[in-house]
Subunit: 547 residues, 2 copies
Amino acid sequence: MSKKVLIVGGVAGGASAAARLRRLDEHADIILFEKGPYISFANCGLPYYIGGAINDRERLLVQTPKGMADRFRIDVRTRSEVISIDPQRRTVQVQSGERGLYEESYDELILSPGARPVVPDVPGADHPLIHTVRNIPDIDRIKEQVSPGGGKSAIVIGGGFIGVEMAENLKEAGLDVTLVEGNAQLLAPFDPELAAILAQEMEQRGVRLLFSQRVQGFRSVGAGIGVELPGNRVLTADLVILAIGVKPDTAFLAASGLELGPRGHIVVNEALETSAPHVYAVGDAIEVADYVHGTRTAVPLAGPANKQGRIAADRIAGLNSTYRGTMGTAVIKVFDLTGASVGSSEKTLKRLGVPYRSVIVHPSSHASYYPGSSAITLKLLFAPEGKVLGAQAVGYAGVEKRIDDIAVAIHFGGQVQDLTELELSYAPPFSSAKDPVNMAGYAADNILSGRVRSFSYDQLADRRPERSVLLDVRSELEHAGGHIPGSISIPVDELRDRLGELDPALEVWVYCQVGLRGYTASQILRQHGFDARNLSGGYKTYRQAAF
Amino acid sequence: MSKKVLIVGGVAGGASAAARLRRLDEHADIILFEKGPYISFANCGLPYYIGGAINDRERLLVQTPKGMADRFRIDVRTRSEVISIDPQRRTVQVQSGERGLYEESYDELILSPGARPVVPDVPGADHPLIHTVRNIPDIDRIKEQVSPGGGKSAIVIGGGFIGVEMAENLKEAGLDVTLVEGNAQLLAPFDPELAAILAQEMEQRGVRLLFSQRVQGFRSVGAGIGVELPGNRVLTADLVILAIGVKPDTAFLAASGLELGPRGHIVVNEALETSAPHVYAVGDAIEVADYVHGTRTAVPLAGPANKQGRIAADRIAGLNSTYRGTMGTAVIKVFDLTGASVGSSEKTLKRLGVPYRSVIVHPSSHASYYPGSSAITLKLLFAPEGKVLGAQAVGYAGVEKRIDDIAVAIHFGGQVQDLTELELSYAPPFSSAKDPVNMAGYAADNILSGRVRSFSYDQLADRRPERSVLLDVRSELEHAGGHIPGSISIPVDELRDRLGELDPALEVWVYCQVGLRGYTASQILRQHGFDARNLSGGYKTYRQAAF
Ligand SMILES: Cc1cc2nc3c(=O)[nH]c(=O)nc-3n(C[C@H](O)[C@H](O)[C@H](O)COP(=O)(O)OP(=O)(O)OC[C@H]3O[C@@H](n4cnc5c(N)ncnc54)[C@H](O)[C@@H]3O)c2cc1C
Ligand SMILES: Cc1cc2nc3c(=O)[nH]c(=O)nc-3n(C[C@H](O)[C@H](O)[C@H](O)COP(=O)(O)OP(=O)(O)OC[C@H]3O[C@@H](n4cnc5c(N)ncnc54)[C@H](O)[C@@H]3O)c2cc1C
Ligand SMILES: CC(C)(COP(=O)(O)OP(=O)(O)OC[C@H]1O[C@@H](n2cnc3c(N)ncnc32)[C@H](O)[C@@H]1OP(=O)(O)O)[C@@H](O)C(=O)NCCC(=O)NCCS
Ligand SMILES: CC(C)(COP(=O)(O)OP(=O)(O)OC[C@H]1O[C@@H](n2cnc3c(N)ncnc32)[C@H](O)[C@@H]1OP(=O)(O)O)[C@@H](O)C(=O)NCCC(=O)NCCS
């Protein structure tokens, strides 16, 4: 007899599971429930429909109920909310616009309900000029407001991926945009010195940024909306986008007996089985293993959701696929810049108490003698034993390529040593003979082996001037153009002849522009008996972080 | 006492070794011998200086003897050819423009003499209008000939990386260009159906291509040069670029007693030690292990040369670095297209007699609903047990990124299963939730598991029409617009209702445009008892290969 499989949620995880399951099992009965009016839409494309990069609304609909029926014989039921599940009786309760309340039984059940935007518990949070961004109806409402004759100014609350993308796209749509962020930096997966580069790009492109401001409430101001900040400050605009994070859309499971995590995520094992037999869960609604540390985490991204949907279908069809965890590989376009990250940030490692080392390099996106190259700021985090723990990069080109390479290395438990060995494709328009990933590996390897001692820009505060000298080894011209206060100048190429100017009793804190000359200088100094260390990422990182 | 280290060859491998060695050892005596007038030049940039993308000749000089002296205290001796080495006495003989013939002793010796262009043994091969492309003097001579008032037409002999780059750049410089290739395809690392895409781009951009033509000789024709082809055919032009391959520049080692390989490459172990104590060798001149198969090979590429140079320096400084082999990761720009490859091609696997499977997919460079995406043709080669053996890709964007991802996977001995799991960064401007690499993994995994049977375009010739039906499952419109001769049309979405039209006694050879609908159709058919198989890469690959 054919299996009856119900799927809750018709977008990334749910639709992927449905399509895969049909390919594996031509005879299953597959019913897909979606509470909204659309399935299979491009959540990730929604912001770009506001900015106009995607100007045909139809393009957001990757698949339709008719398409799913014709190609895959999926019984797609939109405007059909599953309001409860009963794993004992193997049934779900459905509230349908068309058919009212009814029950449906299952042999197997896949839950992919996703996550919903968090709404803060402050006065006025239900104001009609506040919008969240999850689906097509949301974006239709926003589009209407920003169309010619609509809103002229917007406040985006929250500087995560969705907030930053919305701010960029509202700006592209011609609005006056302010972004308010509760923390001291944008885009939490990045460490502050890299996030600062992206923040600077936003300001340069005209987005006003307010950091460390938690919203106290909302109220009407004329025909617009006022956002109340601490200290009785009120910002006003024609509309507000609320993007302070998401939480699993799992309220309908409250009475199901399914094990949920502390923040409401569905708990699953590597087979994506929940605590109830025959019930699988995938996507933004589940807790997963952190791929690097094995701890529990939740990462609301489309790649994992799609992959998990496919795996749940595999399991139901009797295949042995498993999901081993999420490393949070992510990328964002911020106007002309790209930021990408994978694995743990330095902040996360500190929080987890995991020992680590880090290095920052600024290699060229491709051979600098070939036109059009630009610098990539690449930060690598690694264990004192060499295992790669994470990486972040910001730049104009080739950024996500390098993060993906490192993501593949992390997948295999790769070491810094592996990064030095990777054979990546090289011709002048594409890379350098030593690819930026190799370069990060080299610099990290030098630190690991103890050949070089490095310090980071935020450790400059710890320097004791009476015990040390701060040495700028760039050219005199560069030094004159701007330097770290308190530093003296000896260009690296003159250093061997001018060692006498340095007091061997003092530590030498060396820096150059990006870290490379400083490294060479610190090698010279150490081999002449000095206690030298080099500023990771150089003056460039020092300046970037100062934003 | 400080070590005395001699280095032969002052470019990719040699200069990298020198710089690294100085950073590791401030006190070594390092002498670098280079027979040409320049060191540290951008070999790989030479063609682009002809085309004009690089228009400042100075940019080709990445480092200078003065720079190496100031920064690294390297004693650089240009126009100094090492004409023999004596590993017993630990000396080399140097022929210097300035200093005449002299001997220099060493504690350690690094050989990085590179490879020289092959010149065929045919009449007229020394004709003054024939140029090879290895170094700055070569490119100066060519530049002079193609400058305004210089050559108006060129014939490039050889369709390898350098030949294709030179043809493109001569075309960019405004010349009329013909490329003559001895084999039936360009760019040997690619299989014919992918090389054909690149060849088509060249023809569309106005480069005339002649395949399977071996040059018989050269002779003067008026003020120009005639290239003699089989059948008394003579092509004439103002200049000829000869780029039929390279051979190790190791003639000076003939009397050294060093073990050389069958084609003159220096034999080294994983420590890059030659057969003589204290003599290391790196770069284009050495034989290395094929990273995938462990066989001996020689891969003249800059990434390996630079890495090996660094490793040789490490060994001399007492570090334990090793070189584990080369997988031949390479990339080339062909006008607007990019081609990249890694590991083994299908041709190579056939030649080696290694069992393999393959699949071709044509995914989008990034989400197709976001503007500017284009298709990548990606071919994956893998063992019947799942190990990834190689990959090739051609397209307009994101090509080398995917090949690099696969190169990293190959570095770790990755399986097809790993490719399905890789968590690569995704946002609409950069990729899809299922990255092209995941997609190739999925398609390969379906073949490995036996869920789908596939056939390749060149197996169409084996189809027995009396035993099989060729089924086009694209739309009727697509079928009408062009199809494989002998195929019937049933669109995939109608297939379930029209199964009765197919004879269950016949094999069904299914195809669609790229392979995806054909896969879905073949799943439907197989689960209804048909013996179905799907054309890998679909009609698109069939057409591409037909070029
Ligand atoms: C604006 C935006 C931009 C994004 N950009 C990116 C990006 O660039 N890269 C990236 O990796 N990720 C991005 N994401 C995240 C990505 O879209 C999600 O990770 C992914 O869609 C999660 O898939 P899912 O199946 O778990 O949930 P969803 O795709 O959200 O699908 C869940 C569906 O289930 C429905 N549902 C919920 N409960 C019920 C119920 N009880 N009954 C019936 N139906 C129900 C919901 O209506 C919803 O349509 C973005 C998300 C948004 C909102
Ligand atoms: C036109 C061109 C384009 C290329 N494009 C690419 C590319 O896009 N990507 C890529 O990966 N690779 C490319 N390569 C290949 C790359 O340049 C080589 O792999 C790399 O330079 C090899 O380094 P090497 O040190 O072994 O040899 P080389 O860089 O060639 O250096 C060897 C040097 O040794 C000198 N020498 C030889 N014998 C003696 C002697 N007896 N005494 C003193 N000196 C001696 C030679 O004059 C030469 O300058 C290209 C090469 C060329 C010519
Ligand atoms: C549209 C949607 C239903 C497609 O699901 P899907 O059919 O599984 O996915 P794709 O169209 O990418 O096809 C993937 C399948 O094609 C196969 N395939 C792709 N190219 C192929 C080729 N050339 N030859 C053979 N097979 C191929 C893959 O193997 C895979 O099949 P498998 O899973 O059975 O192994 C689902 O992805 C969706 O709803 N997407 C929109 C929502 C979303 O993802 N949002 C978040 C991102 S914005
Ligand atoms: C120019 C040349 C001499 C440079 O050699 P090099 O100094 O080893 O190479 P780079 O300038 O790339 O610097 C690499 C070093 O800087 C270090 N480094 C780079 N960025 C750093 C940073 N931000 N902080 C600290 N260290 C850094 C690396 O760790 C590496 O040092 P290591 O090898 O001791 O670990 C050599 O590459 C060359 O001759 N190139 C031209 C020829 C050529 O390669 N041709 C083929 C390609 S066209």
